[in-house]
C-alpha cells in the first residue's frame, strides 16, 4: 500500500524528535479531549446508591432517582453534600476536574471572575464558569473543527487543483480566473452573513469555512499535476494504453501527495486560528459553547483577572507551537528533493 | 614536461570523501602551462568532483572531505582561505559546465553577466563594453553588439555555450576547466565548440582541463589523457598513445565497447568488471 518512498519518509519523520513528540502530544491531547465528559464534569463517573451502581456521565438520571423531588437531572454536587444521601450508603467518584464548563459556580466569595483556587484550578470566567473545564472542551471543539476543515479543504482542493492541472488549457485558465475572483471575496463578511442567516452552528461554520479553505492547496496541486502529467512515466503509461483514470490515480496522484502532507499541519493551524478569531469577535460558535476565542475576548475585557487571558493565550500558543513543529518536521521529512535519489 | 619549469597545477594525493563514500582515492596529476589535459571516465569515476575540488566548489566538511595538496603556481590552494580562493576562482581558474542554461542567470542579459565578471576580477578595465564585445567576437558570436543585450533564453544551445566560454575567458584565466561542455549539444555544434576551444587555446596559450566521457573529443584536442575508474587514475599518457595502445584493461575495454563510425561490428563488446579489479 505504502511505497518504499513513503515508508522512508515516515522513518525520517520519526527521527525529527521535536516533530515526532509534538505529534504524539497533540494526538494524545486530542484523543483525551474527545472524552472530555469523563474528565471534566459536575457529574460523577460512578455513583453508588442503595447498593446499585449508576453512571451519571453516560446516562441521565433524574433527581427522583436519588430521593429527590424533581424529574430534572440530579444536581450531583448538591447531592454529595446532602446528609440523607450519605446515610443511604451513597458515594460518588468524580472525574479529575470536578466542574462542568457550562455551569456557573456562584457559591464563591466575591464577584466573578474568581481567581484560581482549590476548587477551580484556573479560576472562573465572568459567568463563574470553570476555566480549566472550558479550556478542555474548547480544545476539543477547536481541534475537531480544524481537523474537519483541513480534511474537507484538502479533499476539495486536491480534486479541483488536480483536475485543473491535468486537463489544462482553456478549462484551467477559466477555472483559475474564477478561483481568483472567489478568493477575493471578503471571507470574514461572508461567514458573518451566512452565520446570521442560517445560524452560527458548528456545521454551518464548517461548511462556510471550507468554501474558502481549499483554495491554497488547489494552487499546489494544480502545479504538481501539471508537472507530473508530462513526466515520462506518465507518458509511458499512456503509451501502454492506460486510461486517463488509471494514469491519474495510479501514477500522478501518489506522486502529487507531497504538498498535501506538508500543508496539512498548517491548515490545522489556520483552522484553529480562524475559529478562535471568529469566536473572539463573537461571530463564531454561539454562547455558552466553551471556546478559546470567547475566553480570549473575556481575557481582554478583564485584564485585572489575568488568569483568563493567560490561560487562553498559553493554551493557544502551546497548541499552535506543537502543530507548527509537526508541520516543520513534515516538511523536512517529506521534502521531495531529499527523497529524490536521481543521480 | 618532466624536469621543465614547474607545472602550472600540481595535484598530489587528492582524496575526496562524501561521508562513507570515497569518490576520489589519492590521485596525483599535473597540468603544464599551455597544456590540454583530458580526464576521461564514466559516471561514478570521480572526474567531475575532481574538477570541482580544485577551487573548493564542493560542499564543505563534514558533508565532503577533501585531503591532499593542490599546488597552483607554487601556492597550495587547499590551504588557502575563502578570500584567497575567491581571487583564484574565475580569474586564474575558470569553469564552464555542461548545462549553459543552468549557469547563465536567466534574468540578466549576457552582456550584464560578462560585465559582472569583469567588475569582479579586472577592475583595471576602463570600458567594460568594449572588452565584452571583443570577447564575444572572440568566441565566434556573430553581431556581438546586438547579442550583448540578449537574454540567455534568446540564444540557441551552442550560442549559450559560447557565451559561457566568453564569461570564463574574459578574465584571462590560466586554466580553463571544462566539465562535459559539449555533452548537451548536437553533434555539429559540438564540433564547432571543440574547434573554438582549439583556436582559443592556440591564441591565448591557456591550459585546459577537459572532463568528458567521450574519447572521440579528446583525439586531436588534448595533449594528455587521464583515465579515471572508481576514483583512481588507471592510465595516463599522451593522447595518441592512450588511444592507440591502451595498457590498462579498463581503458582497453572502454575503448573497445564504443561503436566507431565505419567500423561496424556484429556485436559490441562490453566491459567485464571482474577482469579489471
Amino acid at each position: 500500500m505504502f511505497s518504499e518512498i513513503t515508508r522512508q519518509q515516515f522513518r525520517r519523520f520519526r527521527t525529527i524528535r521535536r516533530a515526532w513528540y509534538s505529534f504524539w502530544i497533540l494526538l494524545a491531547a486530542y484523543v483525551l479531549s474527545l472524552g472530555s465528559e469523563q474528565i471534566a464534569n459536575d457529574r460523577p463517573l460512578l455513583l453508588g446508591y442503595e447498593g446499585r451502581w449508576y453512571f451519571p456521565t453516560l446516562k441521565f438520571y433524574s433527581s427522583e432517582t436519588f430521593a429527590g423531588r424533581y424529574r430534572t437531572e440530579a444536581d450531583y454536587l448538591a447531592l454529595e453534600k446532602e446528609p440523607s444521601f450519605e446515610q443511604k450508603g451513597g458515594w460518588m467518584i468524580f472525574p479529575p476536574i470536578k466542574a462542568s464548563p457550562l455551569r456557573s459556580y456562584l457559591d464563591q466569595k466575591g464577584n466573578p471572575p474568581h481567581p484560581p483556587s482549590a476548587q477551580h484550578w484556573l479560576g472562573t470566567d465572568d459567568s463563574a464558569r470553570d476555566v480549566l473545564a472550558r479550556l478542555l472542551y474548547g480544545f476539543r471543539t477547536s481541534m475537531s473543527f480544524a481537523l474537519a476543515l483541513a480534511l474537507l479543504g484538502t479533499l476539495i482542493g486536491a480534486i479541483i487543483g488536480g483536475v485543473q492541472g491535468y486537463i489544462g488549457g482553456f478549462f484551467d485558465l477559466t477555472a483559475q480566473r474564477l478561483i481568483e475572483i472567489w478568493s477575493a471575496l471578503p471571507f470574514l463578511y461572508v461567514v458573518i452573513l451566512i452565520g446570521s442567516i442560517y445560524g452560527q452552528t458548528f456545521t454551518v461554520l464548517l461548511l462556510v469555512f471550507s468554501l474558502f479553505q481549499w483554495i491554497g492547496l488547489s494552487y499546489y496541486m494544480r502545479g504538481e499535476f501539471f508537472r507530473l502529467k508530462d513526466q515520462t512515466f506518465a507518458q509511458a503509461a499512456r503509451a501502454l494504453g492506460a486510461s486517463h483514470t488509471r494514469v491519474l490515480f495510479r501514477h500522478i496522484l501518489p506522486n502529487a501527495l507531497n504538498p498535501i502532507v506538508t500543508i496539512f499541519p498548517f491548515s490545522l493551524i489556520g483552522g484553529i486560528s480562524s475559529l478562535t478569531a471568529l469566536d473572539f469577535l463573537g461571530f463564531g460558535l454561539p454562547p455558552p459553547t466553551p471556546s478559546w476565542g470567547e475566553m480570549l475576548q473575556q481575557g481582554l475585557k478583564y485584564l485585572y483577572a489575568p488568569w483568563l487571558a493567560l490561560a487562553s493565550v498559553l493554551a493557544l500558543f502551546i497548541t499552535l507551537l506543537l502543530a507548527s513543529f509537526v508541520g516543520e518536521g513534515a516538511r523536512a521529512a517529506f521534502d521531495p528533493k531529499a527523497t529524490n535519489t536521481v543521480r | 614536461m618532466n624536469d621543465q619549469p614547474a607545472p602550472l597545477l600540481q595535484v598530489s594525493d587528492l582524496s575526496i570523501r562524501f561521508g562513507e563514500l570515497t569518490a576520489v582515492d589519492r590521485i596525483s596529476f599535473q597540468i603544464g602551462k599551455g597544456e590540454t589535459v583530458a580526464v576521461v571516465g564514466e559516471s561514478g569515476s570521480g572526474k567531475s568532483v575532481t574538477a570541482l575540488a580544485l577551487t573548493r566548489l564542493l560542499p564543505p566538511a563534514p558533508a565532503c572531505q577533501v585531503t591532499g595538496q593542490i599546488q597552483f603556481r607554487g601556492q597550495n590552494l587547499a590551504a588557502l582561505d575563502d578570500q584567497g580562493l575567491r581571487r583564484i576562482r574565475g580569474k586564474e581558474i575558470a569553469y564552464i559546465f555542461q548545462e549553459p542554461s543552468a549557469s547563465l542567470n536567466p534574468v540578466f542579459t549576457i552582456g550584464a553577466q560578462i560585465a559582472e565578471a569583469i567588475r569582479l576580477h579586472r577592475p583595471d578595465v576602463s570600458d567594460p563594453a568594449v572588452e565584452i564585445i571583443r570577447v564575444l567576437d572572440l568566441v565566434g558570436i556573430r553581431d556581438p553588439e546586438k547579442r550583448f543585450r540578449s537574454y540567455p533564453h534568446q540564444l540557441s544551445g551552442g550560442m549559450q555555450q559560447r557565451a559561457m566560454i566568453a564569461m570564463a575567458l574574459v578574465c584571462q584565466p590560466a586554466i580553463l576547466v571544462a566539465d562535459e561542455p559539449t555533452t548537451a549539444l548536437d553533434v555539429t555544434i559540438q564540433a564547432q565548440i571543440i574547434d573554438l576551444l582549439r583556436e582559443l587555446k592556440a591564441k591565448l596559450g591557456m591550459s585546459i582541463l577537459m572532463i568528458t566521457h567521450n574519447f572521440g573529443i579528446v583525439h586531436g584536442f588534448a595533449d594528455r589523457v587521464l583515465v579515471m575508474f572508481r576514483g583512481k587514475i588507471v592510465e595516463e599518457g599522451p593522447t595518441e598513445q592512450v588511444l592507440r595502445h591502451p595498457r590498462h584493461p579498463y581503458t582497453q575495454a572502454l575503448i573497445g565497447c564504443i561503436p566507431r563510425l565505419g567500423q561496424k561490428k556484429q556485436r559490441l563488446t562490453t566491459i567485464d568488471y571482474s577482469q579489471i579489479t
Binding site: 512515466f233 503509461a237 503509451a239 494504453g241 492506460a242 536521481v342 | 566521457h213 572521440g216 565497447c257 565505419g262
Partner: protein, 262 residues
C-alpha cells in the same frame, strides 16, 4: 513484401499562441511532410539533431503527439483514423522504449507493478499469480534477477532501469518497437550492454525496430536502413552501408564529418 509500417506525408504542427487573446500566430512545424516505410524484421534508424522532428515522429506513431496531416499505416490500417478505443488493441503491437531511464519509471511503484501494468491493461483475465510469473519471465529475458521484482526504481542504476523499461514494453508482446534514444542517457559501457540486449531480443522475438538516435555510430551498428531528418523533413534515406560509405545529401555529410572520430 508489404512493409509493416508505412508513413505517408506525415505532418505534426504545433500551434504557437501569443497575445492577450491567445490567437494562433504561427506553427511550429515539428514534422513537415515525411514518408517512409519500415519492412518487417528490419531496424530502421531515424537520425537527426535536436529539433529535427525525429522524436516527434516516433511519438506520432504511438499517439503521444497529435497528427496534423498524413497517414500512418500499420499492416494496411490507417492508424490516424482510429478512435481511442479502436486504437487500443494496436497498443499491444506497437510500443515505445523511452530515453530517460530516470524519469520513465514511476518512483512509487515496484518493478512488479511497473512491468505488470501492461499485463493488467491488456490481459485482464490474468490473475495476480499469473502476472507475477510472467513478470519474472520478462525480467529474465532482459537480464535482471528474480529478486529485483519487489524493488523500487531508485534502487537501480541507469542501465538496469532501462532494462526494466524494456521489460515493461515487452510485456504486451509487441511486434514493432519504437526506440526513442534508448541509450543516449547511459554510460558508454552500459550503452553497449543495452544495444546488445536489443539486438538479442530482436532475434529471439522477431521484432521490428524504429531506432531514433542522434548517435550516428550506434545507428550504423544497429540499423539496416537509415533516414536522416533535418527541420522536420527527411533529407536522405538509404541502406545503412550505402549511407555511411557514400552520403549524398550535404547535411548527411556534415553530420558524419562532425562526429568526433578516433
Amino acid at each position: 513484401m508489404n512493409p509493416l509500417l508505412e508513413v505517408t506525408g506525415l505532418k505534426v504542427h504545433f500551434p504557437v499562441r501569443s497575445g492577450v487573446l491567445q490567437r494562433v500566430t504561427s506553427q511550429v512545424r515539428a514534422v513537415d511532410g515525411i514518408s517512409f516505410a519500415v519492412p518487417e524484421g528490419a531496424t530502421v534508424g531515424l537520425v537527426g539533431e535536436s529539433g529535427s522532428g525525429k522524436s516527434t515522429t516516433g511519438k506520432a506513431v504511438i499517439r503521444l503527439a497529435p497528427v496534423t496531416a498524413g497517414t500512418i499505416s500499420y499492416r494496411g490500417v490507417d492508424l490516424t483514423t482510429l478512435s481511442r478505443a479502436a486504437f487500443l488493441p494496436y497498443r499491444k503491437q506497437i510500443q515505445m522504449i523511452f530515453q530517460d531511464p530516470y524519469n520513465s519509471l514511476n518512483p512509487r511503484l515496484t518493478v512488479e507493478a511497473i512491468v505488470g501494468e501492461a499485463l493488467e491493461i491488456h490481459f485482464p483475465q490474468m490473475n495476480r499469480g499469473a502476472r507475477r510469473a510472467r513478470v519474472l519471465e520478462l525480467l529474465d529475458l532482459v537480464g535482471l534477477e528474480p529478486k529485483h521484482i519487489d524493488r523500487y526504481p531508485h534502487e537501480f542504476s541507469g542501465g538496469q532501469r532501462q532494462r526494466i523499461g524494456i521489460a515493461r514494453t515487452l510485456a504486451v508482446e509487441p511486434e514493432f518497437i519504437i526506440c526513442d534514444e534508448p541509450v543516449s542517457a547511459l554510460d558508454v559501457s552500459v550503452q553497449a550492454q543495452i544495444v546488445n540486449l536489443l539486438q538479442d531480443l530482436q532475434k529471439r522475438l522477431k521484432l521490428t525496430y524504429l531506432f531514433i538516435s542522434h548517435d550516428l555510430a550506434v545507428v550504423e551498428h544497429v540499423c539496416s536502413h537509415v533516414l536522416v531528418m533535418q527541420n522536420g523533413q527527411i533529407v536522405e534515406a538509404a541502406p545503412a552501408e550505402q549511407l555511411y560509405r557514400d552520403p549524398q545529401h550535404e547535411y548527411t555529410r556534415k553530420l558524419l564529418a562532425a562526429v568526433p572520430a578516433f
